[in-house]
Amino acid sequence: MDFALSEEQQYLQQTVMDLLADSCSLDVVRADASENQTKNSDLFASLAQLGIQGTLISEDYGGVGLRLIDAALIAEALGSCVATVPFIGNSVIAPLAIDLAGSDEQKNNWLPRLASGEITCGIALGEHVGARDNDPITREKDTISGVAMFALEVQDADIFLVATNEGELHIVESQNVHVNPLFSIDKTRSIGELTLEGTPSDHLAHCTDPSDVLARVVDAGRVAIAADTLGASQTMLNKAVEYAGERQQFNRVIGSFQAVKHMCAEMAAELEPCRSLVWYAAHAYDTIAQEARLTACHAKAHLAEVGRFVARKATEVHGGMGFTDLLGLHYWFKRVELNRQLLGTPEFVRNIAAEVQGWT
């Protein structure tokens, strides 16, 4: 029984953290945000050199063949620096979907290019998770049509992974898709609306139950989002503790006042168990199939709740400065808020957790 990260895993996460410390400072995030840039090409290329985009892609297809727990550690690092690069769709959901439902030919076609960072893939799974009142995505022979709301990581995507109303998974090329960018509060990731009209698609049909594949890759995506929120929240807590230990009022650092100290303690007390929940959910996805969906839903929902709590309290610890653009805390606040809504709100995913346990 060993519920801890291995040395290799700690090293992996530290390597990504070190890279981000150098290439993804707040100034970089600000500059990207001012240009609505959510795929920083320098950062994306540096990550590709480490093989990050190929984390979940097997070595047979040019990846490094790691597991979701490793991808979650990377997502946590990216969240901690509000990194302006695609990851959750491009490097978690898309490769897993292609791996689980693609033919050898399809894997050969897409996975090596995703692994190397040569192409990026946006995801449009809205038909499966919280379909809105839009034209449903339908398939007719080798084409798909309809409107996909809230596609993720759409900017500069070369291809998209799209779910149809029948639960099928397809890959389409972006040149055949109309992408209407939607501007959310979070300027570090891009979302958008895809319009498909008889768009030729590469149907990932090499599986017995496509809707099961879809559900599984969404589990993985939820864990990765939870990990991103964990990282973002931890940074906010760290910044709050640091600020509380420096800022002086009434001739004392404000962290010596219990009103402020207790806010920090509450954040830490809420957030620390979340780390174990994310680890466990990722580990369950990798090795404990019967607990995977339940723990993925709980990780997604609980991190959304704790993330919002920490984002709010950490902002308050900074007083008026926390509310300004000057400190840039709001980038983390907004990242956590978008994460909360992606792939299912807490209420939505808790309801799935109830279904899984036969409680509905």
């Binding site: 029984m1 060993d2 519920f3 801890a4 990260l5 291995s6 895993q9 727990i69 503790v241 509380a244 230990g245 004392r252 650092v253 962290g255 010596s256 006042f257 219990q258 100290k261 207790h262 920090c264 303690a265 509450e266 830490a268 007390a269 809420e270 620390e272 168990p273 979340c274 780390r275 174990s276 929940l277 680890w279 466990y280 580990h283 090795t287 404990i288 723990t295 709980h298 929902a301 609980h302 709740e305 209420e347 808790r350 309801n351 957790a353 109830a354 409680w359 509905t360």
Partner: protein, 405 residues
Amino acid sequence: MDLEYSTEYQTFRDELREFLREHKHLSPGAIVRRPTEREQPQDGPNPAQRWQQLLIEHGYAARTIPKEYGGYGAEPDPLKNHIIAEEFAKARVRPGHSGDNRLVPTVLELGTEDQKQWLVPPSIRGEMSWCQGYSEPGSGSDLASLTTRAEVDGDDFVINGQKIWTSGAQYADMMFCLVRTEPDAPKHQGISYLVFSMDRPGIEVRPLVTMTGEATFNEVFFTDVRVPKNQIIGKRGEGWFVANTTLKHEREGLGDPNQAENRFREIVELMETEKVDGKPIMSNATHRDRLLQLQGRMLAMKYNGMRVLTSQRKHEEPGLPRWIIKLQGCELNHQMAAMAIDSLGELGTLYHRSDHMRAGGMWQQRFMMDLGLIIGGGTAQIQKNMIGERALGLPKEPKIEEKSA
């Protein structure tokens, strides 16, 4: 990351399960207030003592206490302790005890050989029960300001003063007690740690009825109580240090994730069986969402516990994951009791052998007891100070002025 148990631990667990199946019927009731209940004097060991003896013989109680003091004498192994706690909780069987989880480790760590022989064996057999004389009316969170005095007279200490919140004092055979022996020393350095029989003349125990309706606590008054000088653990004036050894042992017991998981299962059962307007409560989406929120918290604490356990096995200091257990665990238990009560509606308010009462009024009892536990053993606010100062490194509140006690 590997959550499998190696053969050694799997075998240990299998043997324990087999033991529980075979001997469960000898367990003296699943729900017991404390292992320190003082039973009526009688011939030979009572059922609780016989159960304890059986557990010690098999290594499921007093496991790491050396054989020469009546224990099982095993090497410390946090994973085996965890398996024992988990399996007893799952089987809902009364677990064993280690005499007193505050006093016994302290005596073993800091007592003299004579003291160990005198105190440890009867304690772990359940023949010598304990109460803790720490808090005073004027010294709660600021425990070191305590004023109960012990003055030397011949071969004795003579104690005068008052303790409060003394759990089980009406049943206990013995008290371990903090008293001020050096009134002129700074407050942390003037305290000594004494142990003595509750039968000594001059001790008066007055039950303190709590909001649960039961007198789980007491006030204890000392008037010229004589205690031989050799009944001190550690040296004169070092009682604060000795007591902190004890407090460390106490805190670890509060907020146990096994308890939360058991309680959660009970609530699920309740919501699936109890009906309102002909439908199980579980079918109400609002109640259910609340249940799921608690499940998320419960799982996070369970896995946090696994992380702490892993650190302990590697002899690493778990840090923050351990600091938060008392605060979060007690709050979670309280929230779960609240959820159960709200599921029951008016039925959830019934208490004191009322008709239609569910589970013997257990949820109301727990709801109130848990609030007691949030306050006791270091209040939630003191816990937050410790998390803020020791785990996050925030500065202490500036002292106004050090008042000598």
